[in-house]
Each structure stands twice: as structure tokens, then as C-alpha cells.
Amino acid sequence: MSAIHVTGLTKRYGDLVAVDGVDLDVAEGEFVGVVGPNGAGKTTLLEMVEGLRQPDAGVVEVLGEPAWPRNPRLQPRIGVQLQASSFFERLTAREQIRTFASLYGVGRATADGWLERVGLTDKAESRVEDLSGGQAQRLSIACALVHDPELVFLDEPTAALDPQARRNLWDLLSSINDRGRTVVLTTHYMDEAEALCDRVAVMDNGRILRFDTPAALVRGLDAPARIRVAPGVLSLAQAAAIPGVTETREDGDGVVLVTRDPAGVVGALAASDQLDGVAVQTATLEDVFLSLTGREYRA
């Protein structure tokens, strides 16, 4: 059984087609990222999968159940983090998570345990209004996970987090995924998608342009690698003479060799003992993202 099975999913707002005939299958236990520029349709897609919005066309099945109309059998099995401020006003962090726990019939001890897992035990008595952006974000994620859902949706969970909190949250999400839970997250950080996700869906203009593992996406881009060598190790002419080098450039930090055969070029450099300060830069998910969605600014 797949965790998410979507076919021909479409949603229009007036003339705007927010989601345009999307097909998507996510296996149980998979960690999936959805990336795309603002306005690409990520949120609308997820809201239909979560059962919050009625699709204009198409089918959504989540954990083997139809997602629309609002399905009471499904709700205890999924966890959704919408945004940092979806809290009851003027409650403390502890009261907040205990309230959410009660909605799912989960006890206080479990709720308090989650507070600890996201590092908010010190802030348990602080009102949500007094939490920092990152603390509120962590609390909101804890509230989404408190009932131990089989399928978790996270909307930009690491926005507003500092690098420490971000890495800790990565560990937390990985551990949930390791315990067999399916995780779907949206993000603007390509390193995050690359580090966490089994598969990444690149979305733009309401369509899923690619859906594959990060490595396959990078390979598919077929971008040349750039190899940098420390200054004075070899001349531009020597560099250009190495087989497989298609382009050379020199700047203050050394010589850059552009090639589609980084292994061969590094081998040649090693053979002539010219590896000083060598650094190989291959294409990243960010290059894939930009090449698929372009560079112009979005909403």
C-alpha cells in the first residue's frame, strides 16, 4: 500500500490553475521533499492531500483512504504542521502541546516528552507569544507529531531556525522516518532536501517537473564539474592540455578546469603530482532547481 496515491489532481482559483493534473505516489516509509518557487502550487497540493481542500478533479488516497471529504478515520493517522503561529492564544508551551495531545487522546506524559525532544523543556512555562521564531517552529512541529502519526506533513519546518536547531531537527525527522513513518516536507533549502529526502519532487506552475532521488536529479542535469587547483601548480596551457578539460579559467584563487569527466581529470592531475589544493565541485540540487525553474524572481 502506498502512503500517498494521487492521480490527475487539479485545483483552479478563477483563471489560475494552482495544481495542474498532478500524479504522485509516495511509498510507506519514504521521506519525500517538495521543492519549488513561491506560488508553484506546493501548499495547495499538500492541502488537498491533507484533506483540507476539495480538488476540482483527480483522486487523492492517503494510507488507503480517500482524503476528501474530511475523513475521521484518517485524521488520527496523519500529522500536519501548518505554520508556526497556529496556536491557542496565551497558553504556555506545555499547555499548548497538552491541549493538542488531548485532541488526539494522548496523555500528558507523552506531550511533555515531546517538549523535551524538541528542546523546549526550559521554555515549558513560557507563553507561545514569548517564544522566539525558532522555538515556536519547534513547538509547532512537536504539536504535529505528538500523536505519533504514520504520515507527517511539514510546511517549511526549518525556516527561521538557526543552524544548530536545524541540524537537531534533521536528526529528529530522520529518526521518525527510521521508525517507519512517512514524511513529506516542503522546503526552500536544497541542502536540506538533499540531506533528508529519499526522493524530491520539483514543482512549478502547478506541475511536478521531476520526481526522483537527489542523486538521480543531479545526474540528470548532466552539468559539467569544476575542478579548482591551487595557484602556481599548473599553467592555463597545461590545464587545457589535460584530456577531457573543456574550459579553463584563472583567478586569484587558482586555476579552474571545467570537465564532464572529473574522475579522469583528477587522475591525470594525480599522475603529474598536481593535486595541491584540489577541490572538485559537481552540480548540486540547487543547480537542478534553478535549471528547471529559471532564475527570475517570483511572488
Binding site: Q75, L82, S86, F88, E89, E95, T99, S102
Partner: protein
């Protein structure tokens, strides 16, 4: 901890109640602000006697000086007497407003110099002085008076202003906090997407609405207890027989004004807008429904207009059962009207309701 205390209904109710109790502005407007009016109307204005007329007596005025003892006491209940010898100075005093009237006696004629600035006092002064002169004339004949006059108030002597202001102010307080509470909750929760978040939890809409209603009812009964307690303890409020019918009246009134708040919340796009709209609906209604002053002196068309307002029926129902001594049946018609309003406005709000602002 019992199962009941772990239920979603209980958890939501506690969360909403805590949110209210920690919102200083909400508590102020629901409890302290109406109580300030109660203290103002019931405590200060209610105990205030008509202030005495300040009278300056120029020289000897035998008509006043020679009054018999009981007549003199009556005279001093109306007038604060001050003696002066300088007539011009006394008149200047009246002109400046430091005294209300100056009197002098020219032979058999009592002359009063007064100003029309305070017309009520001017009328009291003229009427009272004329009565004393008439009394002196009758006494001078040596005959017993052929007619006498006695004034009796219709109300019980103990019935003070507090009796009339408490039900109206309570009605206003309940209406205000019910309408603001539901308007602000609906809009605030929609803005913060908490409404969406709750939609994703295995909790029915009925549980969410039920928890909000339960907390608002609890607040309304808290207001009732505080108003009656303070009114009775500090200002001598005495309730009549079927005052307990005010409990169902308050309950149905709360539902009715929650519906109005819901309508405001459904119409407005921001929390501030929702609260302002609720205020715009409730405050003029309070004035037109006799919450602050009686509408008995208002033009007939205004009184007919006020019949269209739910708060008018809540106020008059509570007046009837709490202080006018009417039986429980007097509350039935207002209960029905309020329930009708509640149903119609709720249906209207439900039609206009959207889960999100966009």
C-alpha cells in the same frame, strides 16, 4: 485524572478559558468596565439627593425667621440658608452662580432674586417659596386649612436606582462579552490558521463550537454572580421572587449575542475588524435597549425600533423577573424572542462563514 478531563471538549474549553482569563483587555471589558458603570449609576448617582438650593437671606425676613418648628425643618430640607446684610453683594453672588437665590422681605412682600441658569432649581425655588407664603397666609387667617396635600411614591421606599440599572447593565455586559468573545475567537483562529489545524484533528465542529459556547456561558454566569453579589453587598440590591429566571435569560441571551459575534467574525477580514464590528452592533443597541437609561421618555418610534433589538428583550425580561417582582412566566416571551434571534443570526453567519480569510 478522569476520562472526562482528558476529552477534547474539556481540553478545548480549558484552553479557551485560560486564553480569556489571561487576556487583560477581555477581562476588563467583560467584568471591570460594566462594573464601573454599576458603581457610577448605582453607587454615586443613586445615592445622590437632589442637592439643596443655596439661599441667601438679606437682612431680616420674618416670614422665614418666624416659621413654626416643623415648617422650618421642611424649609431647611430644600434650602441651605445663609445670612447676609449687603443686598448688592448677595445679588452679585446669585449672578455669579455662587448662590441659587437671594430673598428679602419688603413689608408683606417676599422678593426672590434668582437666575434661570438652573431651571430645575429655579422652579423648585419659586414653587417652594410660594407654598410657604401660601401657608403663612392660611396661618394668618387663624382658620384650619380646608384642603391638604400628601405625596406618596408608587414604588416601595427601598427601591433605589440600583434596582433599575443592574439588570440593564448586566444585559449589556453579557451581550458585549459574548459578541466580542465569539467574533475575536473566530477571526483570531482563522488568522492564525488554528481553525485549519483543528480541522485536521479528529475533533468535530460540534465539539469546537460546544467548547466555545460552554466557556462563554461560564463567563456570563460569572458576570451574573459578580453583578448580583456586588449589587447586593455594596448598593443594597434586593432581588424579587423569580430572579432565578434570569439564569435561562442570560443563557439564551449569551447564545443570541454569540451568534451576532459570529456574524461579525464571518463578515470581517481581520480580528480588529471583527471586534470593531461587534462593538458597532452592540454599543448603539445598548443605548437603544435601555441598558444605560430608561427609554420611557423616548419618542414612540424609538421605542418601536428598540423592540427589534434582542438586547431590549433581554433587559426587559431581566427587569421583570429580577426587580419588578413578576412571575417566571414574564421571562417566557423574551426567551422565545432571543432564541429566535439566535437561530436566525446563526444561520446567516453559517452561510457567510469561510474557513479561511483568502
Amino acid at each position: 485524572m478522569s476520562r472526562w478531563q482528558q476529552s477534547p471538549f474539556w481540553a478545548l474549553s480549558v484552553a479557551i478559558l485560560r486564553g480569556f482569563l489571561r487576556d487583560k483587555a477581555a477581562v476588563f471589558f467583560a467584568v471591570v468596565f460594566p462594573l464601573m458603570f454599576l458603581v457610577l449609576f448605582g453607587g454615586i448617582l443613586g445615592n445622590q439627593d437632589q442637592s439643596k438650593v443655596e439661599l441667601v437671606q438679606v437682612g431680616a425676613v420674618p416670614l422665614v425667621d418666624d416659621l413654626p418648628k416643623d415648617a422650618r425643618t421642611a424649609f431647611q430640607q430644600t434650602f441651605e440658608v445663609e445670612h447676609a446684610d449687603d443686598r448688592d453683594a448677595a445679588l452679585a453672588k446669585v449672578r455669579k452662580g455662587d448662590a441659587d437665590v437671594a430673598i428679602e422681605q419688603r413689608g408683606g412682600q417676599l422678593v426672590a432674586h434668582y437666575t434661570q441658569t438652573d431651571q430645575v432649581k429655579a422652579a423648585i425655588t419659586q414653587g417652594t417659596l410660594r407654598a410657604f407664603v401660601d401657608g403663612a397666609n392660611v396661618a394668618a387667617t387663624g382658620q384650619p386649612p380646608a384642603y391638604s396635600f400628601t405625596a406618596e411614591a408608587v414604588e416601595d421606599d427601598s427601591l433605589s436606582v440600583i434596582q433599575f440599572v443592574t439588570p440593564g447593565l448586566l444585559g449589556w455586559a453579557v451581550a458585549m462579552s459574548a459578541a466580542f468573545g465569539s467574533a475575536a475567537t473566530l477571526q483570531g483562529w482563522r488568522q492564525s490558521k488554528l481553525l485549519r489545524r483543528l480541522q485536521l484533528a479528529p475533533v468535530g465542529t460540534g465539539t469546537i463550537v460546544g467548547a466555545r459556547v460552554a466557556v462563554t456561558l461560564l463567563i456570563a454566569f460569572g458576570q451574573l454572580a459578580i453583578f448580583l453579589g456586588l449589587g447586593a453587598a455594596a448598593f443594597g440590591l434586593t432581588l424579587t421572587g423569580s430572579w432565578w429566571m434570569s439564569i435561562p435569560l442570560i443563557a439564551v441571551g449569551t447564545l443570541c449575542f454569540m451568534a451576532i459575534g459570529l456574524l461579525a467574525g464571518a463578515l470581517a477580514k481581520t480580528t480588529e475588524g471583527a471586534v470593531n464590528l461587534a462593538n458597532f452592533l452592540v454599543l448603539p443597541m445598548a443605548f437603544l435597549s435601555g441598558s444605560f437609561f430608561s427609554l420611557d421618555g423616548a419618542p414612540a418610534w424609538l421605542q418601536r425600533l428598540s423592540d427589534l433589538l434582542p438586547l431590549k428583550h433581554l433587559n426587559s425580561g431581566m427587569l421583570d423577573v429580577m426587580v419588578r417582582g413578576e412571575g417566571p412566566a414574564a421571562a417566557l416571551a423574551p426567551l422565545g424572542i432571543l432564541a429566535g434571534f439566535a437561530v436566525v443570526v446563526t444561520l446567516l453567519a453559517a452561510r457567510l462563514f469561510r474557513w479561511e480569510t483568502t
